[in-house]
Structures are given as structure tokens and as C-alpha cells.
Symmetry: C2
Subunit: 758 residues, 2 copies
């Protein structure tokens, strides 16, 4: 972390951080004025549509676009021929250079690898012409056998997706291509010995289905390529710099020639951290020399954006009768769709992170199948792996008749302990979340028949990353923040709070703008729970940079040394009476005269944010199972989590509630259903069942605040951890409600009924 | 000027500055893709139109908008009642706080002060409904006597525009209101004594008519006010920060609540440094809660934007028979339309600036009349005053039979001399321009019958001002410049050249963006010939700031002190072999890895640019007068001017040529023609005669380069000086062609014929 200002100090007392002002983007969002991905238009704009594979796996023998191109109103047609040649994909390239995979995913090359894989696209004067044009494109396929299940894909006789994919991480190096892209492992201590020390051992197999992030807003973008090759691209994304970098690499452009503006975003949850239609729109516009807009419909979102992986897992844990974990062993097999890169190693690493365990072995397999290429989904990989982990722990607690929170407290990791996955923890709040959960009134509620209470713990390491923020002052005493991280969860408000706190001016005087890629230095996306921590840190640094300049102006006006001027809650003051007798100068006074005292005053920070603090959560859920229908009703839900410091507590609570809601859907109803034909059977919200408001009780939250020393205000990321415990918590509650343990998600009514009938 | 980087050094050798690359905005501008003021649209956008006064001067007794408001499709109507109350305008306020004047100009209050003055505006669903709505607004006027001529307006019995306007700068303070807003004077030495030392004295009266900047693109803007009061405003302007500040003050908004984006601009020449329709569009949108676009038509541009002042002037100069000026005395009377603020004092100050003269007295009168409020027009005030000055000098040269360049060389001001208007000159290039003009082949061309050669000198002080620039690096080695100064004359290319020069990377790797007011700190507008100097200086500083950071990264990688790392033409290198043996690291290498070595690398500069160097020019023109028609044909034209250092010589030459072309139009044909009814008679390009390409010869140029020590590369502003000499140069050429001196512009055919008949 670059040290930009001498004045940044750790802060423990807050005037504004921790309050709950109205979010600045709120009015525009509720009135419909806010511009989301599909709301941007340009004069002369064409409608772009994508032709998608009807087959799960096929060789593309030929594509004849001549009839489509001859249709009146068709301005451009693109196929694989319009994407630059990429070197033949070797295993090394496929793994090292994900651009190759993304490029092949946004436009199929020699093969289509899943139903919905893009094979061509058109830019036309109307949507109806676009549909006609797509129908006129003749694609000759050689249909190949397919595989959509992770275990089937790992079998020796499985249809192989990539002839150039050889399993990494195994010895000796394999001689034949495989759908197993990589095997990774984490080994700590002596697992065999650990199991000999156990009094009770439980081993189970688990399966979870792929789910979709289910963001309300489909992918949408508008690309406008000029005759000189430069391009303006507007899109809904979690990271417009990543969109720029990816599109530019896929299409052979310089980063400076592609200006990406992030629209408001109607949900992302990780699914908008990559590109699907954006390079296609740029390619269409480049060829048409017109602006081209592509908006996915919901069917396309399900079939051809990036759901999360499905998983098949084995988990084995041994404990003493006093509840101490002696050993743990897991094998995690995830398919991430048609290209390598499932989040399995990250998920595996989260399983034992909350527990002080000496002996752990975790094996992960990253597997490709004939499904859409997975994208990140909130704490990628962790909900599934932790589902397996926390389910087994729950069963062990039952076996030794121990309170499940007590079991976790006995094993809870504390500051100074080395995590099973590597790093040594600093100050963390796991114990506090467990204790808060145990003392909450929910944990004392009596349970009736067919009711059960589930507990689970969750962990996510969080991420910092490259971040740029600029802060400019206006002569009327207002402040503008330039941010490069799309505001999904209220980050504009949070950044304004931190800037106001640091400058010592009212929150209302600060406004934030999400700038385009040409107007501010690079920012990693709104992902990894990084923004409040990292953009917050950069915001504070930028404010301190501005404060240093204001101290300098005051020093010049007073004709004293800048070191003799301090900044104190919105005022420049002499550091001591030795420095001279001067009336404090307010922020407003200094910036009002700034143009003539040396120029406009601004502050800047470009950092690689380190010190993102881990965040732990404990969730407690009560459910009731209807024995006649198998329907599970969530009675009450409590999410307790360490936020380090909650900058805007309402948004922190919203993250806790949102993560829980998504996890409940994943646990109970959501799933990708594939037919034997390899085609998705439920690509719509009627058949893909997400929880709606009436499905859920009020989700109670408790914010624990154990300051993160890696942030001047103690902030930790909170966005991802909340989706980690719910799968297991709900699973454990159902198990205790019906006295039988389901090991396959979702626990939809037929599966519950089937379990009850066993 | 803030010292941002230790590495900024004065540069005399250039690799890229001084070359002529293609301008980056060129392709979009010639293909029509570039978005100008009227090219921006928004969903649900309304058409805004303004109702304008048919009277030159009238009291507005009442405005009834009820019938207009009842018309279907009318979404809002605004009048003076929709603009916040401004304190009753006192003389002090009128002069000190130009916001009051601008507010009253954009929407009339108790009186309309000129034909075309806005009295109401509507936002409607279509242009035809807008026209109907305007016709339904009933305004009751009490018509008052009017005055449009400057001398008439100064007469004691003239109709008074402002009952609260009392002449400033006269003793004793006046008891009655007057159209003379202010009297200012410059007095140096003893003028009476100076005239006694003269061998020849010439005194003449001159008149010039108001002219319009004649930009191709009419004023256009789109305002979108949200329900929370924040506003997005797109407009064609020379300074979007000034638009923001002015609109916000007029409408009582915070600066942070108004985001202004400057479109591409189809010419400004000073006329787009203020606001006309922008506050009206914001007021309409605020009331309609819809986006509102207003586009002026050409008639409105002529009647109700800001032409320059008309002038009435007296000039008297005495010289010895050896050609030495002994004394000069001028009185300059300019009307600037309905509100104070004509540029007369600036123009007066330019008259004797080029000449080392001991005795000077210049009196200026700023006068209001019933005409549209003047706006800046390229070197505001100077072309008229210098026309008077240089005409008299020419006549004196004739009288003592001296070459007109020789006369000017004898009196030319040099480095270290105090200018008559105040400052002491640094290194300047006046003598060099005179000598270059004298040695140019044009000056030797033989002249035929009815042909004449005119010479004139021009001067403009130039301006620096508040400037913010950010420079960001991309990991692929490209660079993005964020500028806040609209690109009128190729400044993107010039800034990219300077950034590339400083960083030591190819020009093609740098791209510039004109950012909006929310994305970059404050910038004064593209005016005062300031951008290449001041934004250039800030660009160089920002590049040096980035270089310092790159040196720091290299030092960290090499584990040596940053002071031991130098930047040399695109590479970080050890300062000496003592520092250690390291291979130089290129710009591309350092930025490629920047995210992990400390974060993205950017450079920033916010400055109050000082040291804008003055620029002098000498123009020589040959004309031929048709004695039958009075038509003047320009045979050849030479513009010689000091650029300090020409960053992009083609654009410097373009400025010289463009200024000459506009000056020729002003001298020969352009004029505002008012009828006795106080109405403009020629509000269109058919009747307002601007020169077109076929009217003009190739305008030859010579760039003199006397480096300006106030800029690291020696740059001077060049945009305004070129319009200063042409009025006099053409006037002198006509006088010598026909043997009679016209003293009134334009020298249109009827005036020439009338002079020939005298």
C-alpha cells in the first residue's frame, strides 16, 4: 500500500461513519430515472442478437451467413471468423490465459460446447429483422456425445470436451486429454493419525446443483465503434475496467481505444464480473460502423451467462467426545461448465478456515462439462463446500449430544492462529458471532413438531486489489468523489460517509460519481467484498491528500511552515500556539479561495489495497417441514457477522439479509435442471424457483464489530460471507426437523417427501 | 503555481512536440459520429423553446401562461417567476456580481431590454406543440423608447435602460442613472508634453459595428433534473465548469448537484463562454421532471446570444519625423448590449502595448444599449481599438513617407520594457514578427492599379488560470489523459504530444478525453488562449507526477533509493553506476506490473497557471478594390506571429489563418444592422455576410518561436492575437489602394463607393 499522506490515522471515534443517511442514488432508482444497462441508446443504433447452439456438444462444420447478410436491414453479421485468431489452445494457455477461454465462450470456434453457446450474431435495424436474420444463418453441426454431470464427466469413458486439456496437478503427467482440468490439494498435519484420535467420525457424500445469481437485470450493452477503431461501450457490469481489458484483449484493441461506462446495475453477485455479449457487440459495431445494442432475454441469461458450479463432494470429520476436531478430509468435485476455472479450490479452502484444526486434507477437482461457463457467484465455491463441512459438523454435534454452537466455539479459530488454508489470522470476530448468536432470543424459541433449528458458520477471506479514487473540491464547499467501482450495494453512500468523516464536513456536502474508464485510473471490480474496504481506503487516502494540500494553503496564507498546521474536524489550525495566533480556517473557506491560492484542490489515491480483513458469520435458522407436501417454511432466521466497522449499518444488514435469502433459495428450491438431451429445462423464473418476499420471514441481523487493522476505520468486506452458511444452516435445520439428513441440494418438496418415505 | 514534481525541467529539444500528427478527434468529426450539442438525447425528452421579446425596450406588465399550460403536450412553462428572486440590482451588484446580469439576460424580469430577450419558455412533447404553446403565452408590454447606438446611448437625453445603473469611475459620483456603466483610464507620462514633441499628429474618429462570432454550431443543451434535484446537463460550451457554476448560482443549486458534460463544439470564439439557454433548460426540466432539450435556431443565435460590442473611438498619435512616437491619446466608447461588461478596457490596453511609448492616455467608456448582451469574441475589444491605433499609425507612416514596418520597428517594445498597460515584458517576439514579415516574398510583390498593401501589428496578453489534469496509465502501455477544457482547436492532440514528450513514449500511445465536471477538478474554460499553455503545463506536471511514481516503483524493484533513479526518455535508469547495475526499465514494463507493485500509476496536477506569455503578430495584406462595385478582393495575406513553441504547428497555423479570416470578414462585410425600430434586420447568414472559402486567398503564415519562460516547453497562447491586426491591416490596404481612408467598418461596397465618390 502506497503511503500517500502523512495525515492518515487510524480512527476509532466517528461522527458520521456508522449513521444511516439516505443513499444518493436512491431517488433515481425508485423513480425509474436511473439508467441501467438497457436504458442507454445512441442515434442510428442497431439491434444486436445472438444465434445460439441448439446442441450441448457439436462440431461446427460450417456457417453460411450469406442469406442473412442479404436480408434488408441487416448491417453486420459476425461469426468466429470475426474474432482474431487465437493460438491453438494448449492446456497451459487454457489455464494461464483465461482470455482464450472467454473468447471461445463468447463466440464458439471449432465446437459448440453447450446449449446456448454463441455461434453467430447480427446487427439489424429492428428486433424482428434480427430474428429473421438469425433464422437465415445456416450452421452445419456434427453432433457429439455430451456430458453435463460432474461425476459422469470425470469418468474415464466420458465424452471429452477439449482435446487439448490435460489434467494439471497430477503425477505422472497424463497422456490423454480429460475433462478434469486440475487437481489441487491442501494438506496440513497428519490426517490418518488425526482420525485415530477421534472418538466419532462421520463421512458423507453431498451434491449441490448449479444455481444462477438471479440478478433482476439481464446483461445489456451498447457498443459504438468509430471509423478510427476507437469504441465507446456502455454496459451493466460489476467492473467496467475488467470489461475493457477483456474485450480489448479478445478483439486486439489497445486499452486506451475502448472507453467503458458502467450503467447502474440491477444486481450482479459475481455474475457480472466477466463478459458475454460485450465483445460480440463491439465486433458487430466495428463491422457495421453503427452503434449496436444487445440485451439478453431471461432465457439467454439462464442458458448462456455464468451460473455457479454444481458440486459432488465427500466430507469426513473426526472429533473427540469433548467436541475437539482431530482430523478432516474432503474431496470436492465441481464442474464449472465448458471451460476450466470452477471455484473449487477457493471453496475447499473455506471449509476448515473457521476451525483450529491440526490435520486436514482437502482435494479439489476442477471439471469441465457441456454447460455454460460458470461465473463467480458470491463467495465462489464456499457455499457448497461449507455445506458439506457444516453438515457433517452438525451430525457430529448430534452424535455427541453437544450444542452445535458450543461445538463450534470449542474449535473456533482465534487471532494468531494459522488458518488451514494458509494465512495467520489477525483480530477476527468468529467467537463473537457465535456468542451473539447463542445469546439471541431466536436461539431460545421453543420448537414445535416438524420444526428444526440449524446452525452453521461461514467464512470468506475477502480481497483488496487495485483501486483509484479522486476527490475534488468545489468553491462552494461541496465535494465530488470519482469512483471506479460500480455501486451495487450502496457504496456511493459509504464512500461519501468516509470522505465526509475524514474531511470533517457534512455527508450531504459530498457526492460520488462512478466514472468511466477514461476518466479515472484502474479499478478492480465490485467483487470480492472489496469495495467498502479498498475503495474506502483509497477514499480516505484521497481525502488526506486533499487535507495535506489544504494545510499547505493555510500555511501559505498564514506564512508559517506546513508542519505547523494541523487538520482538525474540518478546520486548518495552528498546531500549537508556538506556530502563531490564527483563527482556524474552515474547509469551506479554504476551497472557496483555492483557485487563486494555488489552483483547485483535489486529492487522489491509487493503491493496491492490502489488509482486507476476513469476515466470519454464524447463522441460525428455524424451519418447519410440511410432512404432507414436503414444503419447507423458514420460521425465523438470524445472521450474525463481523463487519469490522459498519460504515452504513443498513447496507451491512442488507448484505446479511440478501446473502441469507439467496442461500435459502439455493438450499431449498433453486437448481439447473438438465434433460438427457443436455438441454436446460427451466430457463425462466417460473420454473427456476427463487425465493420471493412472501417466502421469507424478516431476517434478523447482528453486526459484530471487531476492527480490521488493515483499514484505517477497521472496515471488513461483508458482501460474500452471508451466503456461505445458509445452505448448511437450512440443511441442518431440515435434518433436525425431520430426523433424516438430506445430502443433496436443493431440498425441494419431492426430495423431502422421498426422504420422509425412506 | 504549485510545485508538484521535482522532475519538471525546461525542455529545449523535442522528439514529438513540433510534429504534426493526425488529431485524435478528427475521424469522428469528419464522419459525423462526433456528438455536438444537439446530438445528445435522453428517453422521454421534451422539446424546449423560448418566447422572446418583439420589442427593443419594454416593461413587462404581465405574463399569462395559463392557456399555454392547458395545451396538451405542454409539460412545463417557466417565466421570471421560476427564477429565484435576486436582490434588487444596484450599480454595485450589477458590476460586481455578473451572475445578476446573466440571470436577467437569460430570463427577463421587470423589463425586456432588447429584441429577442427571453420572457418565457416551454417544454413540450414536440416542436410544433412548442410553437403553439409559445403563441398562447400572453405578455402585456409597455413599450419604452430604445437606443441601440453607443454614442446616442451616452447622450444626456437617451432612454435609460437601468434605473439603478450609475456611472462608475467618475468624480463626483453621478446623481442620475446613466447608460454609461463605467469610465476607466490608463494614463502614463505627460501626454500634452508628448504631443508638443511631435512633428506630425494625426487624430481620427472610428466606428466599428457589432459582429457575431459566427460559430457553425448553434447553442444547444439537454438538461435532466432528477426528483432529488440533481441535474445532468449536456451542452456545447467552451467551459463546462463555468456553465455549472453559473447555472448553479442562478438557480440556487449546489455545484455538486449539477453535472455538466461538454459536447464536441462547433466553434465558440468566446461566444460559448457564458450561458443563454442552459439555465432555462434546467428550470424547465426541474419543473417538468423530464429531460428538456433546447436548440437555438440561427435567428435566435443572432438576436439573443452574445455578439461583440460596437465601438466609437477617437485616436490621436504624435510622432517625430524620424518615426518615434511621442504621445498617444485614445477614447474608446463601446456598447456591450443590455448589460454592463463590454471589453473596452481590455481593448484599450492593447493599443499601445506593442510600442515603447512614454506618454499615453486611454479613456474607455462601457455603455449599455438595447441590444443583446455581448459575449467574448476572440481577443475581446482588441480588434476595434487596435483598428483605430494601427490606422492612425499607418497614416502617420504615409505622412512621413516611412515604410510602415520600419515605423513599427522603431517603436517596437522589447524585453524588459514596461508596457503602457502595466506589466513589464519578458522575452517577446514582436521585432522578430516584423522582420519576418518584411523579409517575406509577399512584401515584395508589385502592386497594380487599385491595389494596396496594409500592415498592422496585434497583441494579446493571454491568460493562464485554474486547470486540472489527470493522467492514468494502462497496463498495456497506453496512457489516458483526462482534460477539463473542451477541445476546439486541436488541444487533445497538443496535450497528447506534450504527455508523450514528457513520458518518452510514442504519441499514438496517448489518448485524451474531455471529462465531465464530476470526474475531474475545476478547469477554467477554453478561452483567453489559455489551453495549450495552461492545460499543457498541467499535463506536463501530471506526467512528471506519474514519472515520480514510476521512479519510485523502479527504486523499490531494484531496492535502491528513489533519488538514485532517473527518468530518461521513457526509461527508469540508475542515476549513476554508484546506484547499482540495473537494466533500464521501460515505461511499458513498469506500468504492466504496476497493480502488484503498489497500485495503478497515475499523475495529477491542479494548478493556477501563471506565466502565460504574451503573443505579438504582424499581418500584411494586399487588396484590390473594384472601383465600379466597391468590392474589395483580398489578393494575398501573411500572418506572422510568435507562438513561443508551436506544439502542433498545423493547429498554430490554423489559428493564424482563422483569426485572419474572421478579421477580414469584420473589416469588409460583417455587421449587425439595426432598424429605427430597434430590431435586428439581418439575423441570418444570407444577410449577415461572413467570408467563405472562395472569398479568401491562401493565408500564408510564419510561426516565430521565442520561448515563453512561463512554460516548461516555452509555449505561448496563440488563439486570440491573430484576430487583432486584420481590421487595421485590411483598412490600411484599402486606404492605400484607393487613396482615401475609411474610418468605419465594415468597408462594404456601398461605403467604398461612397468614399470613392467623395
Amino acid at each position: 500500500m502506497a503511503s500517500i499522506s502523512s495525515t492518515i490515522t487510524e480512527r476509532k471515534q466517528f461522527n458520521q461513519v456508522g449513521t444511516r443517511p439516505v443513499r444518493p442514488d436512491g431517488v433515481d432508482k425508485v423513480t425509474g430515472r436511473a439508467r441501467f444497462g438497457a436504458d442507454v441508446s445512441a442515434p442510428g443504433m442497431m439491434v444486436g442478437k445472438v444465434l445460439r447452439s441448439p446442441h450441448a456438444h457439436a462440431r461446427v462444420l460450417s456457417i453460411d451467413t450469406s442469406r442473412a447478410q442479404a436480408l434488408a436491414g441487416v448491417k453486420s453479421v459476425v461469426t468466429r471468423d470475426d474474432f482474431p485468431e487465437l493460438a491453438e489452445g494448449t492446456v497451459e494457455r487454457l489455464r494461464e490465459d483465461s482470455i482464450y477461454d472467454i473468447s471461445c465462450n463468447v463466440m464458439a470456434r471449432e465446437k459448440v460446447l453447450y446449449e446456448g453457446h454463441a455461434v453467430a450474431a447480427v446487427a439489424t435495424t429492428s428486433a424482428s429483422i434480427a430474428r429473421k436474420a438469425l433464422a437465415l444463418i445456416e450452421v452445419e453441426y456434427e453432433v457429439l456425445p455430451h456430458v453435463t454431470d460432474v461425476d459422469a464427466a470425470m469418468a474415464p469413458n466420458a465424452p471429452v470436451l477439449h482435446e487439448t486439456l490435460f489434467t494439471r496437478g497430477v503425477e505422472p503427467p497424463p497422456q490423454a486429454p480429460s475433462n478434469i482440468a486440475e487437481r489441487t490439494q491442501i494438506v496440513v498435519g497428519d490426517v490418518a493419525k488425526g482420525f485415530t484420535e477421534a472418538d466419532v467420525i462421520v463421512e458423507r457424500e453431498f451434491r449441490t446443483e448449479a444455481v444462477h445469481q438471479g440478478y433482476i437485470e439481464p446483461h445489456a450493452c451498447l457498443a459504438s465503434v468509430s471509423e478510427d477503431g476507437t469504441c465507446d461501450l456502455w454496459c451493466t457490469t460489476q467492473g467496467h475496467y475488467a470489461v475493457r481489458d477483456t474485450c480489448a484483449q479478445i478483439l486486439g484493441m489497445e486499452l486506451s481505444s475502448l472507453r467503458v461506462t458502467a450503467s447502474e446495475i440491477g444486481g450482479g453477485f459475481g455474475g457480472k464480473t466477466t463478459v458475454f455479449i460485450e465483445p460480440v457487440a463491439v465486433a458487430l459495431s466495428r463491422k457495421a460502423q453503427r452503434p449496436v445494442k444487445i440485451v439478453m432475454d431471461r432465457d439467454e441469461v439462464f442458458r448462456a451467462s455464468g451460473p455457479t458450479s454444481s458440486a459432488s463432494m465427500t466430507m469426513k470429520i473426526g472429533i473427540t467426545k469433548e467436541g475437539r476436531i482431530t482430523a478432516g478430509e474432503g474431496e470436492f468435485r465441481m464442474q464449472g461448465g465448458a471451460f476450466p476455472g470452477s471455484p473449487v479450490p477457493y471453496g475447499a479452502a473455506c471449509t476448515f478456515a473457521p476451525y483450529d484444526t491440526k490435520n486436514v486434507r482437502l482435494i479439489s477437482y476442477d471439471v469441465v462439462t457441456n454447460r455454460p461457463k460458470q461465473a463467480a457467484y458470491r463467495a465462489p465455491g464456499a457455499p457448497m463446500c461449507v455445506y458439506a463441512m457444516e453438515s457433517v459438523l452438525d451430525e457430529l454435534a448430534e452424535k455427541i449430544a453437544m450444542d452445535p454452537i458450543e461445538l463450534r466455539l470449542i474449535n473456533a479459530v482465534k487471532e494468531g492462529k494459522k488458518s488451514a488454508y494458509g494465512p495467520t489470522f489477525g483480530p477476527i470476530g468468529l467467537v463473537e458471532t457465535l456468542e451473539e448468536a447463542r445469546s439471541h432470543s431466536n436461539y431460545d424459541q421453543p420448537l414445535g413438531p416438524n420444526q428444526g433449528r440449524g446452525v452453521a458458520v461461514g467464512f470468506w477471506p475477502n480481497y483488496g486489489g487495485a483501486t483509484s479514487v479522486s476527490l475534488t473540491t468545489n468553491t462552494d464547499g461541496t465535494v465530488l468523489l470519482s469512483l471506479g467501482t460500480p455501486d451495487i450495494g450502496g457504496s456511493r453512500a459509504s464512500m461519501c460517509l468516509m470522505a465526509a468523516e475524514e474531511l470533517g464536513i457534512p455527508y450531504e456536502k459530498v457526492r460520488a460519481t462512478i466514472t468511466d474508464t477514461n476518466s479515472l485510473g484502474y479499478n478492480d471490480g465490485t467483487a470480492g467484498s472489496r469495495v467498502t474496504h479498498s475503495a474506502g481506503m483509497a477514499t480516505i487516502q484521497a481525502a488526506c491528500d486533499a487535507i495535506d494540500k489544504m494545510r499547505d494553503r493555510a500555511a501559505k496564507i498564514w506564512d508559517i511552515d506546513v508542519e505547523a498546521v494541523v487538520w482538525d474536524d474540518g478546520y486548518a489550525k495552528p498546531a500549537s500556539s508556538n506556530a502563531g495566533e490564527f483563527d482556524p480556517m474552515s474547509f469551506a473557506e479554504i476551497v472557496a479561495g483555492s483557485h487563486s491560492t494555488g489552483g483547485p484542490i483535489a486529492g487522489h489515491a491509487e493503491i493496491n489495497a492490502e489488509g482486507a480483513g476476513n469476515s466470519f458469520a454464524t447463522h441460525v435458522v428455524d424451519v418447519e417441514v410440511d410432512p404432507d407436501t414436503g414444503k419447507v417454511t423458514v420460521l425465523r432466521y438470524l445472521a450474525v457477522q463481523d463487519a469490522g466497522k459498519a460504515v452504513h449499518p443498513s447496507y451491512v444488514e442488507g448484505q446479511y439479509q440478501g446473502g441469507a435469502a439467496q442461500g435459502i433459495g439455493w438450499a431449498l428450491n433453486e437448481e439447473y435442471i438438465y434433460g438427457d438431451d443436455g438441454k436446460l429445462q427451466n430457463p425462466g423464473f417460473l420454473d427456476y424457483r427463487m425465493p420471493v418476499a412472501s417466502d421469507l420471514p424478516m431476517i434478523d441481523t447482528i453486526i459484530v464489530e471487531i476492527p480490521n487493522p488493515g483499514h484505517p476505520y477497521g472496515v471488513r468486506g461483508v458482501g460474500e460471507t452471508p451466503i456461505v452458511p445458509p445452505l448448511a444452516a437450512v440443511g441442518n435445520a431440515v435434518a433436525r426437523a425431520i430426523g433424516r439428513r438430506l445430502t443433496e441440494l436443493p431440498m425441494s418438496p419431492p426430495k423431502i417427501l422421498s426422504a420422509l418415505e425412506r
